[in-house]
């Protein structure tokens, strides 16, 4: 079954007929080809699919596409211009805050949310803020360092 929705993704307006069975991850990746939003578990546990919905981080694999009618979504592609990196993304590169990169878009968006809410987080604040994002590679230390560096340079 299809349902019509309109939504704003990274500042661009879209009007689409979506399958009611589609999740926000399917809509972003398959319809809009914004493949920066990753899918790890598909069931709310890993945070790879993290996006901003109306300015707050959510797990897009737990949101139905039909349910975002009239809403505003920001994905990792919306944090910087194509070919450029935001200062926060740049700190991830400098501090080796990623290895395979699978968790990175979600991790960066969670860090982005944290710094928007609390520009001077402690290390404990940072670890709490990324608790919903699993990384199988880095051991988290360099991710925390990258976020500390980003907060210091704001």
């Amino acid at each position: 079954m299809k349902t019509f929705i309109s939504l704003d993704v990274n500042g661009r307006k879209h009007q689409l007929a979506v399958d009611t069975r589609a999740k926000l991850t399917d809509l972003l990746r398959d319809e809009l080809r914004l493949t920066g939003t990753h899918v790890g578990c598909g069931t709310g546990s890993c945070g790879a699919c993290t996006v901003l919905l109306n300015g707050r981080t959510v797990k897009a694999c737990c949101v139905l596409a039909a349910d975002v009618d009239g809403q505003q979504v920001t994905t990792i592609e919306g944090l910087s211009e194509p070919g450029e990196l935001s200062p926060l993304q740049q700190r991830f590169v400098e501090h080796h805050g990623l290895q395979c990169g699978y968790c990175t878009p979600g991790m960066v968006l969670s860090a982005h949310q944290l710094l928007a809410d609390n520009p001077t987080p402690t290390e404990a604040d940072i670890r709490h803020a990324i608790a919903g994002n699993l990384c199988r590679c880095t051991g988290y230390q360099n991710i925390v360092k990258a976020i500390v560096a980003a907060s210091e340079q704001q």
Binding site: R21, A22, D26, G42, G47, R56, V58, A131
Partner: protein, 287 residues
Amino acid sequence: MIAGEFEFFAPKTLAEALTLLHTHHSGCRLLAGGMTLVPVMTLGLAQPGVIVSLNHVSGLDGVEDRGTTLRLGAMTRHATVGSHPLILEHAPLLAAAARAIGDVQVRHRGTLGGSLAHAEPAADYLCATATLGARFLLQKHGGERWLSADAFFVDVMTTALAPDELLSAIEIPKQAAGSGYAHQRLRRVEGAFPTVLAAAQIAPRGGPARLGLGGVAPRPVVLDIGEVLGNGVTPAALDEIGTRAFDAARHALADLNGSTDYRRAMARVCARRAVAAAADMLAPGGR
């Protein structure tokens, strides 16, 4: 992509939502934060024919001061419950429960009503709302009723909600100024559901004192501990409270997080810690 086909409705008013529920009640599921329902549908463990989203219904979220109580809309998200000034002032135990749930993303999307309706025995809100003496407003097309926590929570993941009813609001009595409270939970890792939890709410000057336990029975357990604390929060009183918690947990379900014996032992530990921490918050000589 979810495998099974279903119809999707996103009503804008409560009346529309109730009419949809009335028309489609068999095979219809309400969608709140989706933090439980969407994963369960993704795994094929639930295959509703109709989904009615509450995310666009106006007036179902927010916190209202009603004099001696606070009224919280069922769609109030965990992040709001955890930080709202009225809740922090009059029912900080509930705010502490909300802040302990899952992770940031879960707290942004998940709702008070969704968690209570799902009624997972170890969920943070079950223990907190039962301990606080909350009442639950169930509405359907052409009717409504208020239930106590005791009547609302029926069994593991089972509430008194009929298929054509929705939980629209939760009323929490304001707690006396100067009360002590604690939300003590044992969990495997950050972001995990608690294995056992204990919530203590102690009024000053010999007022009511309650201890709630979660994850130790199919429904939240609430013990009146006012009498036990009659001579203050003495070591003997804490021992007695630990024993009562241990007894209350005798039929605790065993699962991957812990056996019945483990849960009983941890109920004792969490109960003692919760009561001691709540008592510490009372002004000196406050009990």
